[in-house]
Structures are given as C-alpha cells and as structure tokens.
C-alpha cells in the first residue's frame, strides 16, 4: 500500500503547521500546569535569586542596602541597560556601561572610575544580563562590584533619586 494514497493532503504547510503547533503548545501548557499542580514538593514557579546568586559574577545587594550606599556616596552606580530603555530615567548620577559598547564606555570613564572604586551595577531586574557585564569588569580589574537585586522601577518606587535618561 502506498502511504500517500487515500490520505488527507495539505498543499500549504504554513497554516497547517502553525495551527498544529498552536494546539500542541496549548496541550503542553495544560500538561505542564497539571504536572506542576500534582507535584507540590517540586520546583516552585518563582525562582529565588539568592539561590542562584553564587552563580553570579558579583554579590547581590538589596534595595535597602543600595539606597544606604547611595546616601553614603562612596559607590558609583552603573546603568547597564540599553540606551533606549535607559532614556526613561536612570539612578541619579549613574554612569553608563553596556555590554555592546563595553570598551568605548569604559574608555570614557577612564579618569572617573578606578579599579578600586566600589561599583553598584543595575539593570532592569534581569540579573543574568548585569552579571555578564560584571564578568567583563572583573576581567579588567574592577573587583569591588555589587549587583543591585532589583531594577530601576523598584528603586524609583522605594523613593530613590532618579534623573532623566541620557548623559548623567
């Protein structure tokens, strides 16, 4: 028997495969939710950053601790977000260093930021992205690094000073 005979045939692969993939994905979501509900001792839905912080390139600092450091004025705050996102507002006095323009940004801060300076790195709450930048800074000899546990939104909500985006 030829398997191509007497069988449904679809000439356009896109609608059929998209529809089928959507149905399979819905089934997967339901199955995932079901299996998670049936395993109450399993992995929680929300990851605790402190569990993973040993994996980060620098220690985490809480929002309250960061606010205290900001008041003391001993640490420099580094905004690691992309230019368009940072345009909405930055921690007052923060400097920009981005992974995509790391060398240029570091060169601009050559006279301002010394390797022994304390740096608090922050992003939009994605600690992995901030940690990537911390790794690059460590390679350049900046060892006094902290990563802000929360993003700029939490900082602003807690009453931290924010200035308009762009050049600090």
């Amino acid at each position: 028997m030829n398997p191509s005979d007497s069988a449904p045939r679809s000439t356009s692969w896109q609608p059929a495969s998209l529809k089928e993939a959507g149905l399979l994905l819905l089934f997967c979501l339901a199955a995932t939710a079901g299996s998670w509900a049936l395993r109450p001792d399993g992995l929680s839905l929300r990851a605790d950053p402190t569990v993973y912080q040993l994996e980060l390139a620098a220690p985490l600092v809480s929002l309250d601790e960061a606010l205290a450091l900001f008041e003391e004025g001993d640490h420099l705050f580094i905004d690691t977000r992309s230019e368009d996102v940072a345009a909405t507002g930055i921690i007052a006095g923060a400097f920009f260093i981005r992974e995509s323009s790391f060398d240029d940004d570091l060169y601009e801060l050559f006279d301002i930021m010394l390797p022994e300076d304390g740096l608090v790195l922050y992003g939009d709450g994605n600690l992995s992205a901030v940690s990537n930048l911390a790794t690059l800074l460590l390679e350049r000899g900046y060892t006094n690094l902290l990563i802000l546990e929360s993003g700029i939104a939490a900082w602003q909500a807690a009453g931290g000073d924010v200035s308009p985006g762009g050049a600090p």
């Binding site: 399979l24 199955a31 992995l43 929680s44 940690s131």
Partner: protein, 145 residues
C-alpha cells in the same frame, strides 16, 4: 521514497527530543540551573521555562514519532532548535565554559562547535516532515483536514 525519508527524519528527530526530555522532566531543579548557566533567561522565566521546555520536547517528539500533528511537532522542534543554536552561539561568543544541559543535567556535554553542527543537522532533518504535504506512514492519515 519520500515517505521513507520523512519517516526516517521523524524517528530520528522525535527520538532525540523524547530522550532529551526524560532527564529534564525527572530533575527540573537541575535543569533550571543548567538554563541559568547560559545567563540569558530572567529569573522570572527561569523556573517556568524549566517546567515547560521538557514537556514541549516530549510532546513534540512523540508527535513526530507517531506522526500525529506531525507538522506541528516538526515546527515546534525546529523552533526549539533555533533557540538552542542561538543560546549555544551566545555562550560560545561570551566564552562561557558551561554544560549544555541537552541530555543530562548533571554532567552533560560542554558547549562547543560540535553541538552547533548537531543542532543544525537536526534542524535540517525537521524540514521534510514540516514541508512534505503527504502524511505518509503517520497517524495523520486518519485525521480529517
């Protein structure tokens, strides 16, 4: 001839995905850590990804093997492979020395160019079941379009 080729591709890709899902389903915490090693996924999505991805791998793999929603399964596998290739490339570019987390969450294969070639080959094998309209030797023959 074409039906045999499609069947072979389905069995290979489906088998790989089913096998890859088993350890991840058994060890979701270890798999979450493996995902975290790539430093690409935000914490809010880390555990949901560790729950969902192995299920998608299993379902897409079984779908391909049985030929039930064959094209959907092939598309899901292809999309996952594109994501895997992007993640591995990103890790290689950043010089991360990490386990890929592909089949074994404990001490798997380290990321490297060989993984890129393997995933690219699997991606290529997804194309026949995705593009060939005839259901061939699959359960899709018994479905109404």
């Amino acid at each position: 001839m074409i039906s045999a080729l499609v069947l072979l591709c389905r069995l290979v890709v489906g088998g790989v995905f089913v096998y890859a899902s088993l350890n991840k389903l058994a060890e979701p915490a270890a798999f979450a850590e493996a995902i975290h090693h790539y430093r690409l996924v935000p914490y809010a999505l880390l555990h949901p990804s560790a729950h969902l991805l192995p299920v998608v791998e299993l379902v897409a793999g079984v779908s391909l093997i049985l030929g039930w929603f064959r094209r959907g399964g092939a598309l899901l596998c292809a999309v996952m492979l594109v994501i895997f290739i992007a993640a591995i490339t990103s890790a290689l570019v950043r010089g991360l020395d990490i386990s890929c987390g592909c089949f074994n969450t404990d001490a798997g294969h380290g990321v490297g160019l060989d993984l890129l070639w393997r995933d690219a080959l699997l991606l290529l094998l997804c194309l026949p079941p995705l593009l060939v309209g005839r259901p061939g030797w699959s359960l899709d023959r018994f479905r109404r379009n």
